[in-house]
Symmetry: none
Subunit: 413 residues, 2 copies
């Protein structure tokens, strides 16, 4: 099986001014045609560092995709580094120079002396056309390995990769009997990463095919199923079988697939059932409303949201009685219930979620620590209330509480 390695070049990457999205894009695309990427190297605009990275990357991969450092300013030295790596010189390609001059004319700009460097290629290398910019890319072969140098600008890089890098790679791998890869994602909420690992047993062992691994973000656990086979339909079947198995193990912890968010899944179900929802938030400060309305078309089911941050607001807007707040406190089971029920009645909605808690960093005490959150879901025939202690800082507590409210609603729908 062929493998790839990626080299990203640019001082702005090493200084943290720019996040490298190119490497993730390239590796996802390469994996989709059955070529796993086994390493990324990121170096600055420095000749020797780039040459070293090219050596390392060509130890790892059969295909080396490089991006960045192709421009005309003094710090762009990627083409010089490739020439040094290949053991040759840069040569002016006069046809390429004409093309570049033409590109400047098209853009109504004048070409400076400095820009001419972009018409130089290492001996034996081939230029790749840049349809969205000036600097051409470079394709070169060396000791059985393929090297592609692409611009660092994401749009230019993507266009060049899709049009001029993927096709030759595909035809070279098809000849050699390549591999088809199918990736599926199962999204879970309601249990931690290791609890989920325990539930699914030893299928997450390395070396297994399909490979199953797991990532976590803000309490959402994503199981990735990566199936490899000779052809796509076999890989699909293998992924399908594992998806069924995981769903059996995980039950209602699985809320969706692919890139689905909890808010999308809940929203679709509300729309399907033609139900409406209202939201009353205290500690989450609008985070739940925001999650729900992040979904396009949320106006089909989302009607009213209140951010009743002060006690007065809870009383005047949602009808939470002053006595209740005095007796149990604004952060209490009783207050969460009254908020949800008040919101549902006032909005004449089918469902309402009420959230009250202590997001911190201050305001907690022994009985009611930072992270304590009560969440209530109210419908016409029941009201559910749950107590949670969420870990993390203010933002994480708010986000986890909002997601948990959505998840409680999902399980009721």
């Amino acid at each position: 099986m062929k493998k790839a390695s990626i080299v990203s070049i640019g001082n702005e990457l090493l200084s943290g001014q720019i996040v490298d999205t190119n490497a993730a894009y390239l590796s996802e695309r390469l994996l989709s045609i059955g070529i796993p990427v086994v390493s990324f190297y990121t170096v600055g605009d420095d000749l020797d560092s780039i040459v070293r990275a090219l050596h390392l990357a060509s130890e790892d991969g059969d295909i080396i995709v490089i991006s960045g450092g192709l421009g005309a300013t003094d710090d762009d030295v990627t083409r010089q580094a490739l020439a040094k790596f290949l053991g040759g010189e840069l040569q002016l390609q006069s046809e390429l120079l004409e093309k570049i001059q033409g590109a400047f004319v098209c853009r109504g700009r004048s070409m400076s002396e400095r820009d001419k460097i972009q018409a130089y290629m290492p001996e034996g290398a081939k230029a790749l056309e840049n349809k969205l910019g000036i600097a051409p890319g470079i394709k070169a072969g060396y000791r059985g390995k393929l090297f592609f140098i692409l611009p660092g600008v994401p749009a230019e890089m993507k266009e060049m990769f899709e049009e001029q890098v993927l096709p030759p790679i595909l035809s070279s791998t098809e000849d050699s009997g390549g591999q088809a890869i199918v990736v599926r994602k199962l999204r879970c909420f309601g249990a931690g990463e290791s609890a989920i690992a325990d539930l699914v047993g030893d299928v997450m062992k390395r070396g297994r095919n399909p490979l199953i691994n797991c990532t976590a973000e803000h309490g959402v656990i994503t199981l990735h199923i990566v199936a490899a086979a000779k052809d796509k339909s076999t890989a699909e079947q293998m992924a399908e079988k594992d998806e069924k198995m995981l769903r059996k193990y995980l039950g209602e912890l699985v809320y969706g697939v692919g890139e689905q968010t909890l808010a999308e899944v809940v929203g679709e179900e509300l729309a399907r059932q033609k139900k409406t929802i209202a939201v009353a938030e205290s500690c989450t400060g609008g985070a739940l409303s925001k999650l729900i309305t992040d979904v396009a078309g949320a106006s089909r089911y989302f009607t009213y949201g209140w951010v009743t941050y002060s006690d007065k607001a809870k009383t005047s807007e949602l009808g939470v009685s002053k006595d209740l707040i005095e007796k149990y406190g604004a952060v209490s089971e009783q207050a969460a219930k009254a908020m949800a029920e008040g919101a549902r009645k006032r909005a004449k909605a089918d469902f309402a979620v009420g959230i009250t808690g202590i997001a911190g960093p201050s305001g907690g005490n022994e009985q009611k620590p930072v992270g304590l959150v009560y969440i209530s879901v109210s419908a016409d025939n029941y009201t559910e209330i749950k107590r949670f202690i969420f870990p993390g800082n203010r933002q994480l507590i708010q986000f986890r509480a909002a997601l948990t409210g959505l998840n409680m609603l999902r399980l009721r729908l």
Copy 2:
């Protein structure tokens, strides 16, 4: 001058499922204390690959910061790789085990056998406390180089880096002399990147010291002033001088410094003036309330928020008249004004912001395109209303509108 190298670990990075934001964060933070990062290495959850990356990174840097692969699942092998690299074994630290058991208890979760691996450390290494998660980090010294292993989850990584990695690095670099770097950031809102570049003239040239460059995110433009000098106080003076110059050029476009958000600046000013604010949102769906309440202590000035997504909600909650909505539409200057004024009266607040618009992707037409947003700020002696057309997708339009509402309020305070 000390240098650093960064190693990012995870199959999900190499498969492109996750974009590596950790490396950029770490390198920006390290550069800010005068330690340039000279390379990133990204490898999968594979023992030998990680060991090789540790060797390469320690050729490049004096400080090696590693993230990822510290969890309890079978594919997490970073701690094993460090032990192998250091030439020792993993040892159970019983005190650490107790701490981890305690962390599970706090979260109301049970600890599985599998989780125990997190209490193992390479010989001679020190655990770093994970305040936001379970897996502890690791600190080790080897042949004069410092190694820090942090969790891959960005929030946990950042907290651990700021609290437990930066301080020892800072104290070790101050001793050894070397170059002092001072970084200042000026945060601007209300003009685009190229407008700001035009205003500041040619100070953004490369090679200048202080170096001034500019990054943009969601309409917030950050100008970075990076001053280098033999000693810290000279660098501080240089940065100070440039900050004054930039402030003169940019006037009220500058809303803050460092990591300040618009919501923090507005909140501080409201608290200082002992004023309160209410918010009435339609198209932003809670985004403005969320921005305001992201700030700890927002309860000092934030009282009421309404997400009046439906026309009915605008009428029943804010007193926007049915006639007004029929005549001008819910997305109109008049509706924004009535929402702000209604919210202010109902909440008895000093200020209120009302936002109504079309976040898309559907719902627009020729007269009222997607991105059209009316924002109103109401106080007891005036009501201001502005019309905007924001570019971008649904989330960007919502976010820009919410920030713009905050900025209008800032300019009135």
